[in-house]
């Protein structure tokens, strides 16, 4: 491992952390604005032009708020839980190629921190570890609503993980690799070669599982504000709660990168146009997270488990079997 590689990796890590921490903040601004417009409101308007500096105001509030550790909580676990959510969200980004490789000052940059050969497995696995944050935080909080939320986190965890794993198995069988860069190259031939045309069922299933993964609205049952207060976040205050928040939004951005990379051609042939196309696809999937939040109701935990185990998982298994048969003959 030479020094140049080390420096490059460190720079990439820092850039990724900064960019996506900032994006998580701006993501909350977009969420408020879009939800407001869909509900015929204006959203934040007073801090800065069109409320753009609301993110900064929220940041100041979160950073300066008192960090309360309640009396009866299991303090070490209570303290580490938000870190798990935020850290795993950013760790998962290590194997995602955000842009095609480009050359700057005669030095070729690969905008992926580690092109490991088990890319998808790593991304999905580390993202799944992120659910330990709500689960441990909820169990350690000494609060009944948090405990309910932790139980729901466990239920969601075992439900969607099967679906997302089995759904993504069929594209993996077709590509024959787990690296997201290989996925991209497999679909580099333009729109016609996108995996979504040959694997529409897997695409829809993975998309649904992504909602459960990030805990967004149809499956927003872990931190259901209107039902169990804020679930695992009830006892948290200040930046510890903010870490949960950053983790959730970073997860949304990363999963919005992963879905187009697997199914919708990623950055295509690696041109500038392809790079913008990937960003556009990412923006659509992020927007869709907000869109559904304005439009759709939440499901109950038992409905989510019913959906995942009795509907989506059989569909995913059938999809894998059919894919295998088609590939064999």
């Amino acid at each position: 491992m030479d020094t140049a590689y080390l420096i490059e990796t460190v720079i990439k890590v820092v850039v990724l952390l900064l960019v996506f921490s900032a994006l998580a903040g701006i993501g909350t601004y977009f969420e408020r604005k879009i939800l407001a417009f869909m509900q015929r409101r204006l959203g934040p308007m007073n801090v800065g032009p069109f409320g753009l500096l609301q993110v900064g105001a929220d940041g100041i509030k979160l950073f300066t708020k008192e960090d309360i550790i309640p009396t009866h909580v299991v303090a070490p676990i209570f303290k580490i839980a938000p870190v798990i959510t935020a850290a795993t969200a950013f760790m998962a980004a290590a194997a995602i190629p955000f842009l095609p490789q480009f050359t700057i000052f005669g030095y070729t940059v690969h905008p992926i921190i580690a092109d490991i050969n088990v890319g998808i497995l790593y991304v999905l696995g580390v993202m799944a570890v992120g659910l330990f944050g709500p689960m441990l935080g909820g169990m350690a909080s000494a609060n009944k609503f948090s405990l309910l939320s932790a139980a729901r986190a466990a239920a969601v965890f075992i439900s969607y993980e099967v679906v997302s794993g089995l759904a993504v198995l069929a594209p993996i069988m077709m590509v024959g690799s787990l690296s997201l860069v290989d996925f991209n190259e497999y679909q580099a031939g333009g729109i016609g070669s996108w995996i979504v045309w040959s694997q529409p069922v897997a695409f829809v299933l993975f998309w649904i599982a992504a909602f459960a993964e990030t805990g967004r609205t149809p499956f927003h049952l872990i931190a259901n504000d209107h039902e169990i207060i804020d679930g695992f976040g009830t006892e948290y205050s200040g930046m510890r709660w903010g870490l949960f928040f950053i983790g959730e939004y970073a997860n949304m951005f990363f999963i919005s990168f992963v879905i187009p990379l697997i199914f919708l051609g990623g950055f295509g042939d690696g041109s500038v146009l392809g790079a913008f196309a990937l960003l556009g696809k990412m923006a659509f999937f992020f927007f869709f997270f907000l869109w559904t939040r304005a439009a759709w109701p939440d499901v109950r935990p038992d409905q989510l488990m019913w959906l995942c185990w009795k509907v989506l998982m059989p569909l995913a298994v059938i999809n894998v079997v059919i894919t295998g048969l088609v590939m064999m003959f």
Partner: protein, 203 residues
């Protein structure tokens, strides 16, 4: 307004919602799931919110900059009116408002002035206790105490008194003819002259 006044629900376009019976057996439940899955109701919801976003028909009132118009019968902070003819105070010090006030927030004192006329020497309303029920304005025989439209009366303490001088129409405003007549309960309705009938002395 006519639409709100029409209380006849029978021919107002009301209809019973067509709700199917819940399925009891497994096959029925399965059919319901398939029907709900492929009927595309989720996309109707998506379309509705997207349509509202594109139409951009925002209903927000940005309160400190924009304010809603309020009706003439709105019951906000009280006002004391003057007589149009003489610019004198309408209040005759009868004390009915103090008597009827159900939250006991009006205190008044009266004396006989040099013209042998009853005069209000002190008059306060504790807005911290006032529930703005409107009884004082309703009971006032002279339409002297009325409710105004000023609702921005935040205070730093619970006891927030308003004095007689603060409620009274300023004399310069009165001279300019800018006193707003109360249009709420008990006030003279428009076209009252036309509705007056002759006293039946002819019988």
């Amino acid at each position: 307004m006519e639409a709100f006044n029409n209380r006849n629900v029978a021919d107002n376009g009301y209809f019973m919602v067509d709700i199917e019976d819940y399925p009891t057996d497994g096959w029925g439940k399965f059919k319901r799931v398939v029907k709900r899955t492929f009927r595309g109701e989720l996309f109707v919801g998506l379309w509705v919110v997207m349509r509202e976003m594109l139409r951009f028909d925002i209903h927000t009132i940005q309160y400190p900059q924009e304010k809603m118009p309020i009706g003439p019968r709105y019951r906000a902070v009280h006002e004391m009116k003057r007589l149009w003819e003489s610019d004198a105070e309408r209040c005759i010090g009868c004390g009915l408002c103090e008597k009827i006030c159900i939250s006991d927030c009006i205190r008044m004192d009266t004396k006989i002035d040099e013209n042998s006329r009853k005069e209000v020497s002190s008059y306060t309303i504790n807005l911290g206790r006032c529930i703005f029920c409107g009884y004082c304005a309703e009971v006032c025989p002279e339409l002297a105490i009325t409710h105004g439209g000023e609702y921005e009366n935040g205070s730093e303490q619970r006891e927030h008194f308003i004095m007689y001088e603060d409620m009274l129409t300023p004399i310069d405003k009165m001279k300019a003819g800018a006193q707003l007549e109360f249009e709420g309960f008990g006030s003279i309705t428009p076209h009252e002259d036309a509705r007056v009938k002759k006293t039946p002395l002819a019988y």
